[in-house]
Amino acid sequence: MPIQYYIFLSLALFCIGIAGVLTRRNAIIIFMSIELMLNAVNLLLVAFSKMHHAVASAVDKVNTVGTDGQIFVFFVMVVAAAEVSVGLAIIVMMYRNAHSVDVNFLNRLKN
């Protein structure tokens, strides 16, 4: 498939994630939108790695060009898993203190 289709698909998913962060107030939904944006970037990284592999395979049949992109996707998943564990702990603590997960309650720094 042309690489532009993958770019457009990833952009659409990323912008849906941005719209979720901007419009929803539930902290868990905002967190899920961030996961959606991370996944859009992962999809684009894999597509670009296969694009570079296609370019290099036209010259040399046996090569490992494009491995770095997929390793990077793996590390993005590692960081996302660590981020989710800490973030959900923060949301649970916020719910325990405020009895709500509405982000508009978190305006104490304003005063």
Binding site: I16, I29, F74, A82
Partner: protein, 167 residues
């Protein structure tokens, strides 16, 4: 239109519709289930690109572990009903419009980029995404980041316990 193109369009439509339903559904449990649908569609894309290791890791880590964690938290806090208060409609409209403007700018930028014309992603062939190649790269070139990520996980675990502890 061959079978790969049909699968590509089907998975793309599934991913976009599920991602929209994540935002539009009122019940947080439904949002989580739609997000699992997005992850399955993206894993299908990875399989189409012959990135088998990433596809399986995406299913196990995201759809299997992270989403179950989200479901646990939602059910623990008893949020599975519509408790979100009504927000100002103009704020929602402003968020949607700004995201749409960002999308339009980036799409028009990509459309006229000369480096990306006539480039294609290799579908269903090429063996860089197989676990043998990725494992060799992970344990030779990238062994230091791999070990550092274990320290990251340890600190994340300690952080989650310290934050979530009742005191």
């Amino acid at each position: 239109m061959n079978v790969i193109q049909i699968l590509f369009w089907f998975l793309s439509a599934l991913a976009l519709v599920s991602a929209l339903m994540v935002l539009l559904s009122k019940n947080p449990v439904h949002s989580v289930l739609w997000l699992v649908g997005v992850f399955f569609a993206i894993s299908g894309h990875y399989i189409l690109l012959n990135a088998q290791f990433i596809a399986i890791v995406n299913l196990i880590v995201y759809a299997g572990a992270i989403m179950v964690l989200f479901l646990f938290v939602i059910m623990l806090m008893n949020l599975n009903k519509d408790t979100e208060p009504q927000k100002n409609i103009w704020m929602k409209l402003a968020g949607a419009i700004s995201a749409g403007c960002f999308l339009m700018i980036l799409v028009s930028l990509i459309k006229q980029a000369p480096e990306l014309q006539a480039k294609t992603a290799m579908m269903k062939e090429g063996d860089i995404g197989l676990i043998g190649n990725l494992g060799k790269a992970l344990f030779s070139t990238y062994v230091v980041p791999f070990e550092i990520s274990s320290i990251l996980f340890l600190s994340a675990m300690v952080g989650a316990v310290v934050i979530g502890k009742k005191d």
